[in-house]
């Protein structure tokens, strides 16, 4: 095969003639991002995230659609190239109307995957739902009784006919588990040989213990009271939160193999000893840190910690919960307990401490009236279920199914596999970089049995059009209109089912965004 010599970032390569720059670079292990490129169809050059630079004249060009030639010299990642990609993403995002995560999730301090829990509950999969809950919330039965539910305030259905009863749903999944003889036990990773000391067994300390333990560390909690629970045992909560529930749920955490030393008051001496014998220390001692002088820097609210990383002035010491800032919101403390586990792990691995990795999240504002109708397509029309047996009893299992089915699936089906999201994350794109004066309304086309089409998430890359053409669909998909207003649709307003008779899954898979996704 004929070869040509090209230079990428100053290293010379012999590559087969006829390849595109993107292909040649990929073969050589040089990364170039792509979105509108798909190996099964011809290139199209639409998204422009694959821009690279011609070293000869400084011009940018899309690498997916340019063929290599002898003597070509290019630069794939200088500052300008990286910025160009970021700008192309930001332009796409400026017209992108979609939420990666549902608004309930982004407003939950613990970022619990609420819609997924709801879908499992609606489907009667209570145990699976609990697993989802416990991925982010260590004390769901507790929170299910006392959380003021910021998630419900943000619930998209709130503006229609009342928020989904998220908090009670979560509680139900946890309560069901508490009833089991063989309750849910998370998989514990292999022993790491590291030991972590946690001071304080309130909601933050307990959560930290749970998630650190799951990661295979040896975890010891030091609690000055005789029992774990901290602020969760204040008298004001007694009515709402039966002691039995609290005890049971704390046991679930301890049972993962956490060593809880109650009645031990940590003073400077013990602290120094803990610092000596542990690989990291987490301060979860609640509010009232004024008199503590352990060599950890304080500001007036509490211990000073890095944002998102919860690392204190002493790199080995982390602080969470009311110890950094007094709060009545137990869910915030629980969330931080989960996040600090990421930080401690990063610290132990010698990595930069950034806490739970923050992923890019596309968001759009309020739903319009017409969008209510679109969103309701994915939910039942019933009103919010109030527990027949009263709040204390919670929802019955029938009520759970009925209520969970009200959830409208506001999260994106491609949130874990969306190229637009991944790249926006990689390139730190800011959705608000370019302000749009108006946005299109979202639509959800759900008639097709296997896939869903949400045009407002489409980046007009044309992969679906080229695929349906290649596979000779009778109708297929086509571009309709031109310019900014171009849309993807089925010719002659035929239904999606007619358009996609054999390629539905193929296009849903190939679509780089959540515009086309599997049901």
């Amino acid at each position: 095969m004929e070869k040509v010599k090209i230079k990428i970032n100053n290293s010379t390569l012999d590559v087969p003639a006829g390849l595109t720059v993107y292909q040649a670079a990929s073969n050589a292990g040089i990364y170039i991002p792509v979105m509108c490129e798909n190996e099964d169809v011809d290139h199209f050059a639409s998204c422009m995230v694959c821009l690279v630079k011609d070293a000869a004249n400084g011009k940018l060009f899309p690498s997916c659609s340019t063929h290599v030639y002898e003597g070509m010299e290019l630069i794939t990642a200088d500052e300008e190239v990286l910025e160009a990609r970021k700008i192309s993403l930001e332009l796409l995002l400026s017209e992108h109307v979609g939420d990666c995560e549902a608004p309930c999730v982004t407003s939950c301090p613990a970022h619990m995957d609420i819609p997924l829990m709801n879908r499992l509950l609606a489907n009667g999969q209570t145990a699976e739902a609990l697993e989802v809950v416990k991925n982010d919330i260590a004390l769901p039965a507790v929170l299910g009784r006392i959380c003021p539910a910021p998630c419900e305030s943000a619930c998209r259905r709130k503006g229609i006919d009342g928020a989904v009863s998220i908090c009670l749903l979560k509680r139900n999944s946890a309560d069901e588990d508490l009833k089991q003889d063989e309750p849910y036990m998370p998989a514990i990773q292999k022993d790491t040989g590291k030991s972590i000391a946690i001071i304080g067994a309130g909601p933050a300390g307990l959560a930290a213990a749970y998630y650190l333990r799951i990661r295979g560390h040896k975890v010891t909690i030091y609690e000055k009271e005789s029992r774990a629970g901290g602020d969760l045992r204040v008298p004001e909560l007694k009515d709402k939160l039966p002691e039995e529930v609290l005890n049971q749920e704390i046991d679930r955490i301890i049972n993962t193999g956490v060593n809880c030393k109650c009645g031990v008051s940590v003073d400077k001496k013990l602290f120094d000893a803990l610092m000596e014998e542990s690989d990291a220390v987490v301060l979860a001692i609640g509010a009232g840190t004024e008199h503590i002088d352990w060599g950890v820097k304080r500001v007036f609210k509490g211990f000073e910690v890095s944002k998102r990383g919860y690392q204190s002035s002493n790199p080995k010491v982390f602080a969470v919960g009311s110890a950094i800032r007094a709060s009545k919101l137990a869910v915030r403390a629980v969330g931080q307990g989960k996040e600090v586990a990421f930080s401690v792990d990063q610290f132990l691995a010698g990595e930069k401490v950034i806490g739970e990795p923050k992923v890019f999240n596309s968001r759009f504002g309020k739903l319009s009236e017409r969008e209510h109708i679109e969103f309701l397509k994915e939910a039942t029309a019933d009103l919010r279920v109030e527990p027949a047996e009263g709040l204390g009893a919670g929802l019955s299992s029938d009520e759970v199914k009925q209520e969970a089915a009200r959830c409208m699936h506001c999260d994106c089906r491609k949130k874990d596999s969306c190229t637009l999201r991944d790249l926006s994350d990689d390139y730190e794109a800011d959705q608000r970089s370019f302000s749009a004066d108006s946005r299109v309304e979202t639509e959800k086309h759900i008639q097709h049995e296997a896939i869903i089409y949400e045009p407002a998430k489409c980046i007009k890359c044309g992969i679906c059009v080229r695929l349906t053409r290649k596979h000779k669909e009778e109708f297929g998909l086509t571009f309709i209109g031109r310019g900014f207003d171009v849309r993807i649709g089925v010719p002659f307003n035929e239904s999606l089912s007619k358009g996609l008779t054999k390629t539905a899954l193929l296009v849903a898979e190939a679509c780089p965004t959540g515009a086309l996704s599997k049901k």
Binding site: F44, A45, S46, C47, M48, V49, L51, L60, F61, P62, S65, T66, H67, A84, I87, S88, L91, L92, S94, E95, F434, S435, A436, D437, I459, K460, V465, T468, R469, E473, E474, F475, G476, L477, T478, F479, I480, G481, R482, G483, F484, D485, V486, P491, F492, E494
Partner: protein, 781 residues
């Protein structure tokens, strides 16, 4: 009724062919038949041919010519070309929408009688603002004339005799007589001439506008009378004496009351007016162009593409041949081999007139060197710049010259088939070229063994369907192939992989029209004209706020000032010259302070503009530069094909900001965001449309930044941006109530004999009151 469609489509396909590349002609034929594209008809096409639903839907929805909904019985086209825009066509468009009572998103009235459309440049910019109802053109239209125009149209619609050019008040427009009233002219007796002209005009009841122009700089030829017949080129008479006036005027304008037969004869004579041999009466007074410099309007011009302008009957091939036509072709076929032709064109320094200025000889050589066969040639006549119509004029007036240029090129590169790609809105050009092709075929200039040589080529006509981007060569090719007009990345250039993957030469119409001159007169004659890097001449459509607009052909290197002041006669009506917008939507605004910039490819690029297609719009102090930038950007944004992110989304975001500024809703940081977007849209766009779209914005920001800042603070210094101005009545008001009667929204209470007051909450800023006020008491600001 599906059987109907079956039959119709069968007939249509028999005419157009039924392959994929026929999809646009098929759609055009369907639209001709039904006045829109009925879905059943399209489905029928799909079942009768290989054309897929995906393809036909994609194509039909790409081109703006096609309508998916039935249109009204009559189409009202409001010109929003550059010249009309600067003269207020936006307000006229709004006024028509009100007249037809259209809601947002509608374009056809309730009775389905009228459909309103915006069009870019109807090619009679001197009459701006222009409105066309079917085939009747109304010029100088003002916002309060909409009802009158519709009434006038209704009245004349049924009458057989159609007067095709009328003013908004229904009077016919036949043209304009311009009389030089500069000091030399007056001294030479032009005022006397003016009186006689006025007399003749009124006696004959002619509908012509008398216009007095300033010194045109040819003082040794005074007095001057210039006749501009609507839709035709202007003719200048020098050293006119009062006794000549009557015959000059009558020869151009048809006096009322003459018998039709006689009238036709008069018109016929008028058509030949510059043909010295045919008509003797006035010859000694018509300007002799060879005697240079005779006039600034003509004398500064160098006709190559427009050689024999005004003096040649477009379709008379004998006349063309008489004047040296096809001489170059004969010589080429007899005496030169293809490489010699290419070398000569290279030596001439000719660069493409389609915008980018690519060396023509080099391009020919690239195609000639390709071994593939067949080879194609395309004459790009898509001309989409909303303020230019040079190519149209060349195609309409000099069809044989373009054909000759094409044949020479075809010989040089070894083309087998050539295409004329013509803009949809140019029906006259299409029919002229079709007829000319027919004649050439009969005479053996096209076909096999041309002029007895071994060289053969077939030339075909292809009509575009309304997409500016299809002027871009790769999009143009996609469109001939029957696809959406998406440009594609170059390389490969069309010279290597063009139409159907074969080597293809794409040149602009004007480029071809200069070729015969070069071959006939030699490279030296041509490259003696112009500058070091830009040889020869360029045709411009000079319009806007100049005393004398029109089509001009000037040597490269002439300065902007020379064009505006000497050729254009300066800024009209005593206003001050502010800037020129050159190069249309890809070009830029050059301020008066840089008026000494020479017009050549490099110099224009240096100041941020571009030769572009050749639109040249003069702006005066009343023009708002932010509005101009928005005007051009909204054009390109609307014409973006939507393929690549930077252009599709970037131009939209830019327009969002400009809209905000013009509405007084600018935000802090908007100007910086606009600058950032401009530079990235240029850098990141796939084709020339996006790569040049920011030019009007960037140049106005560069030279008139203070106007942007004023808009950011909610002030439009020129009072053009309607959201930023208020209408009021000052104390000159005599209480005549005319404004109150005219106001379409009753914003002015009816208070006879008292000073009127405008309720600014209701006022929609339609400008009707100002236009009708007899004492100029409506204030805007």
């Amino acid at each position: 009724m599906s059987t109907d469609f079956k039959e119709d489509i069968k007939n249509i396909l028999a005419q157009t062919g039924n392959s994929k590349s026929d999809v646009i002609p098929i759609l055009q034929a369907i639209q001709n038949r039904y006045n829109f594209l009925p879905e059943e008809a399209l489905r029928e096409v799909c079942s009768a041919t290989e054309i897929t639903p995906e393809n036909i839907t994609g194509v039909a929805s790409f081109y703006s010519q096609f309508r998916m909904q039935p249109a009204g019985e009559h189409i009202i086209k409001v010109c929003v070309g550059t010249a009309c825009h600067v003269k207020g066509s936006g307000l006229v468009h709004d006024a028509f929408r009100r007249e037809l009572d259209l809601n947002d998103g509608e374009d056809t009235d309730k009775d389905r009688k009228y459909t309103i459309e915006k069009v870019a440049c109807l090619g009679c910019c001197t009459l701006a603002p222009v409105v066309q109802v079917d085939n009747v053109t109304y010029g100088h239209v003002s916002t309060d004339q909409t009802a009158g125009i519709i009434k006038d149209f209704e009245k004349h619609r049924l009458s057989k005799k159609k007067k095709l050019f009328r003013t908004g008040s229904g009077k016919e427009i036949e043209g304009e007589i311009r009389i030089g009233l500069g000091s030399c002219c007056v001294a030479s007796g032009s005022d006397e001439i003016r009186q006689v002209v006025e007399e003749v005009v009124s006696k004959n009841d002619l509908q012509v506008k008398l216009k007095h122009v300033g010194c045109v700089g040819m003082c040794h030829q005074v007095p001057l009378v210039e006749i501009v017949q609507t839709n035709q080129e202007s003719i200048l008479y020098a050293k006119v004496i009062p006794d000549d006036v009557r015959s000059i005027v009558e020869r151009h304008f048809q006096p009322k009351g003459l018998l039709p037969r006689l009238a036709r004869r008069v018109t016929k004579i008028a058509e030949n007016i510059l043909d010295d041999r045919n008509w003797e009466g006035i010859e000694k007074y018509s300007l002799d162009v060879r005697e240079k410099p005779v006039s600034s309007f003509l004398g500064r011009q160098v006709p190559i593409a427009t050689e024999h302008r005004g003096g040649i009957n477009p379709l008379d091939i004998e006349e063309y041949i008489d004047k040296g036509g096809f001489l170059a072709l004969k010589r080429v076929l007899k005496e030169m081999n293809p490489q010699e032709v290419i070398d000569l064109v290279k030596d001439s320094g000719m660069r493409g007139r389609g915008g980018a200025g690519f060396p023509t000889g080099l391009k020919w050589e690239m195609v000639a060197n390709q071994t593939g066969s067949p080879k194609y040639l395309i004459c790009n006549g898509d001309e989409g710049d909303p303020g230019a119509f040079m190519d149209r004029m060349i195609l309409e007036s000099y069809p044989y010259r373009v054909i000759e240029g094409i044949l020479i090129a075809a010989y040089a590169i070894g083309a087998d088939i050539g295409y004329f790609y013509m803009r949809a809105e140019y029906p006259l050009a299409v029919s002229r070229i079709s007829q000319a092709l027919e004649v050439c075929r009969e005479k053996g200039y096209i076909g096999n063994n041309i002029l007895g040589s071994s060289f053969s080529i077939d030339l075909r006509m292809y009509q575009g369907a309304g997409a500016f981007v299809c002027g871009e060569e790769t999009a143009l090719i996609a469109s001939i192939e029957g696809n959406r007009g998406f440009p594609r990345l170059r390389p490969p250039f069309p010279a290597e992989k063009g139409l159907w993957g074969a080597p293809t030469l794409v040149n602009n119409t004007e480029t071809f029209s200069q070729i015969p001159f070069i071959l006939r007169n030699g490279a030296d004659r041509f490259n003696a004209i112009g500058t070091e890097t830009s040889r020869g001449t360029k045709v411009f459509a000079l319009a806007g706020k100049v005393a004398r607009g029109g089509l001009i052909e000037v040597p490269m290197g002439i300065t902007i000032r020379e064009i505006v002041e000497e050729i254009g006669g300066g800024v009209a009506e005593g206003h001050t010259f502010k800037a020129v917008q050159i190069g249309g939507p890809s070009g830029g605004c050059i301020p008066a302070s840089l008026a000494d910039t020479p017009v050549d490819f490099e110099s224009l690029g240096e100041v941020g503009a571009m030769m572009g297609s050749g639109g040249l719009v003069v702006l005066d102090e009343r023009d708002c530069m932010v509005d101009i930038a928005r005007y051009f950007l909204s054009f390109t944004q609307n014409e973006s094909c939507g393929k690549c992110t930077f252009c599709r989304v970037g131009t939209k975001r830019m327009l969002d900001i400009l809209d905000r500024l013009c509405e007084g809703k600018g935000k802090k940081g908007d100007l910086e965001e606009l600058e950032k977007l401009s530079s990235w849209v240029k850098k990141g766009s796939l084709c020339g449309l996006g790569q040049t779209a920011p030019n009007p914005v960037q140049t106005t920001m560069r030279y008139f930044r203070e106007e942007y800042e004023a808009h950011l603070n909610g002030v439009c210094p020129t009072g053009r941006c309607s959201a930023l101005i208020k209408y009021s009545v000052d104390d000159r008001c005599i209480g005549c109530t005319l404004c109150a009667q005219k106001c379409p929204v009753d914003a002015i209470p009816f208070t006879p004999h008292e000073q009127h007051v405008i309720n600014t909450d209701i006022c929609i800023k339609c400008d009707s009151c100002r236009q009708v006020c007899p004492v100029d008491s409506i204030r805007v600001g």
